[in-house]
Homo-oligomer: 243 residues x 2
């Protein structure tokens, strides 16, 4: 063990396992939901959204729509009738979101956000902001728990691959050790997948679910690395660019 | 999709995720706890034990010891003072167990057994009986859920590798499809590890926990394939050789 490496990276494959994490002090959670919530949130900030208010259920989203907010809300991948947007990153163009406040409701991602309020901070991670996120984390003296939103509490490949990619990036620095078995498995899956990520992701269940819903146009975009430098951070109430 | 393939193989990385499995009908659970409960149970049957009564906690084990049973009981990998055995497969020699009834209490494995009573049957799986277990499953017209005991409800590499090995074996037959992401991830990890299983398992956390406790002598044995043809089956009360 390298004694200089004083921070841990842990991977949690689904929100249901979050209560089992070992890291309990001085940690930042990185939440990821590659298809599609966290990729979309990063896109919205890249395109100038001012803040995002995540909500856990469609009723709350509908109430905020009636109160005058711009609302993104979908269920099982489909836009709800009252909403301005569904969950596709492509909806959040600069023309529509720049300078605005967006209420955001999703099946998987938002539920996870509300589970992790014990963390010191919650950062929003996706392939499209991976490099900047890694640098942002390195600049903070905190342990890292990467929380995969999964699909209805089940393990999912796309989020686990992101966890492996971020953990692999972090352990290249002098700060981080990845000791838990889930981090090691995620990094090995990433190693297997990274040279042909879209080919590998062909086998993911959720990719096929989105295809059936006609929502898979966003997939190649969601697996591109480092398209933006934004690091959105949730403060327990709203998401803003991390400082 | 091959339409002849009518049975599913699902992998559940920890007991805590068992309530999330998709398979709900006509299924057999394969329980695995490679280090060390299910490897030890298979060894005891290979060496002639008549039946094993799994119990969930040490108090129950102590009561049964006082009632005259032979008892294997450990906590966090250490034999409890009142017990005849700890959990090491090497304790269960033919001289000591042949023809006998054994009460068996472990931290991880037994707890998992009691969670899965909705399954049609619960088979006990380890690398040492993998080939026979696969044939036994193929002879039954059931879906398969491979349940990893994990370590205190966390994902663990050794059980996940077994799940990948068994799933890979089953999908070679004409019966099984592995559609869930966790089965695909487990099979990929197995593919990575199988040519140097002991080298790969060096990185598993639990392997190091056992080493610290001086209990790692059983590790090379636990990763040998097909040492026995027994398929132990739990009927909700006791474990016997499956018929």
């Amino acid at each position: 063990m390298n004694c200089e490496k004083s921070r841990t990276v842990e991977v949690c494959f689904t929100p249901k396992l979050f209560s089992e994490i070992i890291t309990r002090e001085n940690y930042i959670v990185v939440l990821t939901d590659i298809l599609r919530a966290t990729t979309s949130i990063c896109t919205a900030f890249a395109n100038g959204v001012d803040r995002i208010i995540p909500v856990a259920n469609p009723d709350e989203a509908r109430n905020l729509k009636e109160a005058g907010y711009m609302v993104a809300s979908e269920q099982d991948g489909k836009k709800l009738d009252f909403a301005d947007f569904g969950n596709s990153a492509f909806s959040f163009t600069p023309e529509r979101v720049s300078g605005k406040t967006l209420v955001y409701c999703t099946t998987n991602g938002t539920r996870a956000l509300n589970m992790v309020k014990t963390a010191d901070q919650i950062a929003i991670g996706a392939f499209i902001n991976l490099g900047s996120l890694a640098h942002w984390l390195e600049a903070r003296d905190k342990n890292v728990v990467i929380l995969c939103s999964g699909w209805k509490n089940k393990f999912c490949l796309e989020d686990s691959l992101f966890a492996g990619a971020l953990a692999s990036e972090l352990i290249k620095s002098k700060y981080y050790l990845a000791e838990c078995d889930s981090a090691k498995a995620a990094m090995d899956l990433w190693k297997l997948a990274k040279d042909d990520l879209l080919g590998y992701i062909e086998k993911a269940c959720h990719r096929h679910r989105l295809k059936k819903l006609g929502l898979d146009d966003v997939i190649p975009y969601s697996f591109q690395m480092d398209l933006t430098q934004v690091v959105p951070v949730f403060d327990g109430h709203e998401i803003r660019i991390g400082i």
